[in-house]
Amino acid sequence: MAAFSFFSFGASGKIRGGVHPKPRKEATFDRPIETAFPLPERLYLCLQQHAGQPAEPVVRVGDKVLKGQLLAAGQGAISAPVHAPTSGVVTDILEYPAPHPSTLPTPTLLLEPDGEDRWIEIQGVADPFALPPEEISARVGAAGVVGMGGAAFPSAVKLNLGRKTRIQTLLINGGECEPYLTCDDRLMRERAADIVDGILIMLHGLECNKAIVGIEDNKPEAYAAVSAAAAPHGGKVEVRQVPSLYPMGWDKQLIRYFTGKEVPAGGRSADIGVLMHNVATAYAVQQAVRYGRPLVSRVVTVSGSAVSAPRNVEAPIGTLLADLLAFCGHRPDDTASYVMGGPMMGDFLPHPKVPLVKGTCGILALSPKEVAASDAKACIRCSRCVSACPAGLLPLEMMSRIRAGQLESALGYGLKDCISCGSCSYVCPSEIPLVHYFKYASGELVAREQNKHRTEQTKRLAEERQARFERQKQEQAALAAQRRLKAQQRKAEEAA
């Protein structure tokens, strides 16, 4: 880390900040992806499992559906459809706890599998490269593919944006820098050819000629597999190793590492000619375009010390995380905390009876000894958080201002540029939950902004109402005056 803090002084280093959390990947990285996960009794399909508008159901309770059949259609510009992960009966459309720290109920479609797992008639294409480029993103969108690295942003929207802005480089993120998670690693080792095919299909859809796959140097097998799969395609798909460092998988960090360019604040990577997708997304794109298979299952890492047989499982979307844990030998009594995603940026779950969604890359059952749970102590200004911050912020200064209630001042220190990667909290020797402060402050500022907006709107409405009354009064007064004048004239005429 000392070596990296050297770069953090310069105007443009290749890598800034970052930490080396214990990888804890050895529990799962040697085991092949488990594809024999038994169909659960019920599948819970969230209508909102992507960034943007929730999907709208197109089936009714009681309908029999086939695997891959459209259940809910995307709504609006940013949305994604939801398909049936297996054949069965739609038994209910209800409010069910969401895979979110709040576990608040959210519209969910309940599917009871019939055990036959029968596919609907699907249509692939023999040669995706003969399709018109815009057809690729259309097919990706119709298949409900979203960013599988966790963000769950609809991939078709991104592909369209990339084609419109004429991006020069497609970056494929095989970093998987979060501890515990190995689902991308396993996917790259076992299905490298499909991933490379998916990358080529995306390149075709983007009308772009250059893809770079970045894989952390702690995954030599994955690197070898993807390199071998990419070799026949000339320099079109370049596979490169990146240092194992968290958060190497942050898109903007990877972009800086490969291109030397930074995405301007408030901008998008497409602004500097780069688009980034995850390796698992590339796989889903390939499945969607070549075979016509919508996104109905994914590979997810099930790990943590409270799991006896940790491994990667390919499971249907909508499976309860509790079922996945149970399948892998979960010991509930030994569990201190459930985490969805990786331990650095993942979400706490009060219980695992929530469904698997397209963006879930891991479910961890952590034992008490794995969870750092002591109280925060005084900040000693050691500035380890400053060296660790990949965004070049001063976490300790922002924290002290937020503690003092000066949220605006924290904004001046770059609160909005915080990516919540958790590197600062990770290194803090006083165990101060720095990221938690930043998330709180950001949320609070948004709430205040909304409140201010609302107050202003109310004020404007009240003022308009007042003005309207005034106007009406004046109009009435003018009318009355006119009437009086007419009456006087009439009287005068009558008198005459």
């Binding site: 000392a2 901008g267 979400d347 706490f348 005084a378 540029d417 020797p429």
Partner: protein, 359 residues
């Protein structure tokens, strides 16, 4: 439920405040042990009294403030403050110097501001400078080094008398420090070559630490080795030590080249007084130094500049304490103006230009 269970990250680095404090004390150990070795029992008594007083004062303040005493005492910060104060004291100073010093450092230097992490000035340097101003005689009576059990080393009972009964040191057992001697001679118009001879200056002895001086400061070599170990352990970063030492060395070289009789050279400066201790252990104090790497470079250079100015033209022979305190006062200003560049923004915080000049 603890907050750390509810909010990511759910994993943490092993480094803890207590571990950092213990590591710094381990790094101080060789130089301290050497000081006790050459200055005898009185140095050990003074060191022990200062450390125990620091703990007692910290406990008292915590008790008065209604804070948890045991938990905070165990973080090791009071012990470290006391240790650093002891390092800078004349080894044969009476016991109450240690007590007052520890009190100044812990109470006035730290706890009145709200405890760990809140103090604007380095507690040890604050104590050192206050003692020097208040008790100039006790703070400038320097014991000469002697081998343990040699005829010039005081016995156990003599030592107890020196530390606890204020017994005056025998003639020939005290002498000036090298910088003190240089300043006195210079004020009488004698050149550097002459004063170095009268001060029995020997380059090797000076580097190793066989000379009159503060309890833990004489061996520049051992202090520097401790500091390098802290660097290797990532407890401190290179920015402050390098910029401080480089500034002193550069200024000393330039001036020594212009007039070698009036100005001491870089080797003399780097191996005498508190420069090494300040570079690795005092100026690097997290709480009172800037938090950005660029700010730390400025801070270190400023300390070096003031050390050189005070030593060369000031009234006091040693300038490390004053210099660090001066720069401590500037830390909030440095932190305000010198910040790292945020990703996607220029140094002034504006978003970077898009390709083609768009913003």
């Amino acid at each position: 439920m603890s907050l750390s269970l509810l909010s990511a990250p759910f994993t943490r680095a092993d480094s803890q405040v207590q571990g950092i404090m213990v590591a710094v004390m381990l790094a101080l150990l060789p130089a301290t042990a050497f000081g006790i070795f050459i200055f005898g029992w009185p140095a050990f008594f003074l060191w022990a009294v200062t450390l125990l007083s620091a703990l007692a004062f910290e406990a008292l303040c915590l008790e008065l403030a209604g804070k948890p005493v045991k938990a905070v005492l165990l973080d090791g910060s009071a012990l470290l403050s006391g240790w650093l104060v002891a390092m800078t004291l004349p080894p044969w100073a009476p016991w109450w110097i240690g007590v007052v010093g520890a009190g100044l450092g812990v109470v006035v230097g730290k706890q009145v501001f709200g405890g760990l992490g809140q103090n604007p000035f380095n507690p040890a340097m604050l104590a050192r400078v206050a003692l020097l101003v208040a008790f100039p005689l006790e703070m400038t009576t320097w014991a000469l080094p002697s081998l343990p059990f040699s005829s010039s080393a005081p016995g156990l009972f003599d030592s107890l008398a020196i530390t606890f009964a204020g017994a005056p040191a025998a003639d020939g057992m005290t002498g000036p420090t090298l910088i003190g001697n240089w300043k006195t001679e210079a004020s009488q118009g004698r050149g550097l070559s002459e004063s170095l001879v009268s001060g029995h200056y020997n380059v090797m002895a000076s580097i190793l630490g066989w000379k009159a001086g503060s309890l833990g400061e004489t061996s520049s070599l051992l202090v520097a080795l401790g500091g390098l170990w802290l660097l290797k352990k990532n407890i401190i970063t290179w920015h402050i030590p390098v910029s401080l030492l480089a500034t002193v060395a550069l200024l000393a070289s330039v001036f020594a080249l212009t007039d070698g009789e009036r100005y001491a050279g870089p080797l003399f400066h780097l191996t005498s007084g508190a420069v090494m201790l300040a570079a690795f252990f005092i100026a690097t104090d997290y709480v009172t130094s800037p938090s950005s790497p660029a700010g730390q470079l400025i801070f270190g250079a400023g300390c070096g500049l003031f050390i050189f100015i005070i030593r060369t033209w000031g009234a006091y022979p040693e300038g490390a304490g004053f210099s660090v305190l001066l720069m401590n006062a500037l830390t909030p200003v440095i932190d305000h103006y010198v910040r790292p560049r945020i990703y996607g923004r220029d140094l002034k915080g504006r978003p970077l230009d898009l390709p083609g000049g768009r913003r």
